[in-house]
């Protein structure tokens, strides 16, 4: 079976800057795929090349087997892309905008019920006759999402759909994306909220400086981190044994977070040392590594933590 997206040897240079250094991977049909990376990693550049907005310096991309350049019409009909920038056409109202977009894809009145359904599901029904310029940022973002889906594409790519979106709307969007996915749509998501990616995506690619640093299922990615975290709140005046000092990864509101290598530092050895020095402890917590930790390790940079 052909993959939903095949990306082969894609390079992009802007002058001296290599935004993409030969990216190569596939996204299978029906996957919920996360494309993660710090600012400037090349995520949007890759998406814009898939969309046909940017010309790759080398390599090619196919959507369900259709090349995005030589067979661009078919490839584009199979794709729905939500751009990162909050763009809109101030000349039209919400419904007109969506109907026009459907028309570009060759869809007519037969998709109007679907447009109405999306307007309702994305909480835009009250605003359907309102001019695009009179919408709030979050509303414009939802229209962008609906716009990408007007022609019911089997492959959907969302470039930071939840950036600058309030908690409630983020929930709505999550439900909406899950729903799409459960109906068989391939969903590709970029986000800086790593919790969101961990929660939603089955497989994740981490890209940094134009290169893929990791590409695994979310489970594998989490499991490959050979660490666990132990958070200790010491009693007033207590001092951590010297052997444990180098393991301190963070100091969070007075609690010390120790990063324990699963093969070397067992919990029991840590507690043995604490007992030896008679360190009084007020509270203990353990934490499995999350995507944030893996992200920091692979890219040396922090993602954003979802509010």
């Amino acid at each position: 079976m052909t993959a939903a997206l095949t990306i082969s040897g894609v390079r992009k240079t802007y002058g001296k800057l290599e935004a993409l250094k030969g990216v190569e991977f596939q996204i299978q049909r029906g996957e919920f795929f996360g494309l993660l990376g710090p600012n400037g990693a090349g995520k949007s550049t890759l998406i814009n090349i898939i969309a046909g907005l940017v010309q790759a310096s080398a390599g090619n991309i196919s959507v369900l087997g259709h090349d995005t350049v030589s067979d661009f019409r078919t490839a584009r009909r199979l794709l729905g892309i939500v751009p990162q920038e909050l763009v809109f056409d101030p000349f039209f109202n919400v419904t007109d905008m969506l109907r026009i977009q459907a028309g570009y894809y060759g869809c007519g009145e037969e998709v109007w019920p679907w447009i109405d359904e999306m307007l309702q599901r994305l909480d835009l029904w009250e605003k359907r006759k309102v001019s695009m310029r009179a919408l709030s940022g979050g509303m414009k973002r939802r229209v962008l999402i609906a716009q990408a889906l007007v022609h019911k594409p089997p492959v959907v790519i969302l470039d930071e759909p939840t950036a600058g979106v309030d908690v409630e709307l983020r929930r709505t969007l999550w439900t909406f994306m899950r729903d799409l996915h459960s109906k068989g749509t391939t969903v590709v998501l970029t986000t800086h909220y790593l919790e969101e990616a961990q929660e939603m995506c089955e497989r994740i690619a981490i890209i940094d400086k134009g290169e893929i640093k990791a590409l695994e299922t979310t489970q594998q990615l989490l499991a490959r981190h050979p660490f666990r975290f132990l958070r200790l709140k010491l009693a007033e005046g207590a001092v951590l044994p010297v052997e444990l000092q180098p393991l301190v990864a963070a100091n969070i509101n007075g609690s010390l977070e120790l990063k324990l290598e699963t093969s070397k530092n067992s919990f029991s050895s840590v507690f043995a040392l604490l007992r030896r020095d008679g360190v009084a402890i007020e509270d203990v917590q353990t934490r499995d590594p999350d995507l944030e930790d893996i992200f920091v390790e692979l890219t040396g940079r922090k993602g954003e933590v979802a509010a």
Binding site: Y14, N48, A51, G52, L53, V54, Q55, F72, R73, T74, R76, R77, L79, I81, P83, E85, V87, F88, D89, P90, F91, F92, D96, I100, Q101, G103, Y104, Y105, G106, C107, G108, Q147
Partner: protein, 255 residues
């Protein structure tokens, strides 16, 4: 309707809706401006000798003013639409859609044709009760009109593709389109010009558009209608070739 046809038709409709939504700016204003020129010049030049036998100065002026307005509005329609979409960023909606260079080309050009047809008809309807205009060669009239409006719409598209901001379009309009449309024999016969300018006029494609259009009405003109048709068609062909090349290669549109 095939999906491609529907895509094209939608883009055409969107482009028409765009100028339709601001008719005051896109139709009424240019018609009024042209009528003011007519009023002022017809008054100022009253009693002057006829330029062609049997054709009064006012009659002579009308076709030129119509063409000048068509030239300016055809250019404005495509160039402003494209630069607005670019600056607002919403051009991506179109660029991501499964539309090819030909659909872009024809949709933008036809929309400009619709606008100039409305503008030209409005002008003629308003002046007709006051100015006698015979229609000597309807076919020449239609051919010149379509080629002129088409060429300038294509030129506007080219300007929109090349420009990165509104200023670039303004520069194009102020330093090229407006001067060339004024210096093309709208207000005078080029025979009245000093030799240098007389010669120079013959390198201005707008001169042939206006002269040819006048021929359509009166059956007389400064140069032969075939000459004008050839220049106008040639200009259209060259502009079209450049524009299609830009659209096909993604010139300045694909980063």
């Amino acid at each position: 309707m095939t999906p491609n046809q529907r895509g094209f038709y939608t883009l055409l409709k969107k482009e028409v809706m765009r100028f339709w939504a601001v008719l005051g700016q896109t139709v009424t204003a240019p018609v009024i401006t042209a009528l003011l020129y007519l009023l002022v010049f017809a008054q100022a030049m009253k009693g002057r000798a006829e330029i062609y036998p049997g054709v009064s100065y006012t009659e002579f002026l009308v076709p030129g003013l119509v063409m000048m307005t068509v030239i300016q509005n055809a250019f404005a329609n495509t160039s402003s639409s494209l630069i607005q979409s670019k600056v607002m960023g919403n051009l991506v909606f179109l660029q991501m859609a499964p539309l090819g260079p030909w659909e872009w080309f024809f949709a933008y050009i036809l929309a400009a044709l619709v606008r100039t047809l409305i503008v030209a008809s409005a002008m003629l309807v308003v002046v007709l009760p006051f100015v006698h205009l015979p229609i000597h060669q309807p076919l020449a009239l239609i051919a010149i009109f379509v080629l002129t409006s088409g060429s300038l719409a294509v030129l506007g598209l080219i300007a929109g593709i090349v420009a990165q901001k509104f200023d670039h379009i303004a520069a194009f309009t102020n330093f090229l389109i407006t001067p060339m449309s004024f210096l093309s024999g709208v207000f005078y016969s080029v025979h009245a010009l000093p030799p240098f300018w007389y010669k120079a006029s013959h390198f201005n494609p707008f001169f042939y558009m206006i002269d040819g259009f006048r021929f359509g009405f009166f059956g007389v003109s400064d140069v032969s209608i075939w000459h004008s048709l050839m220049w106008t068609a040639g200009f259209f062909a060259v502009m079209t070739a450049i524009c299609l090349w830009m659209l096909i290669t993604g010139y300045k549109m694909k980063k």
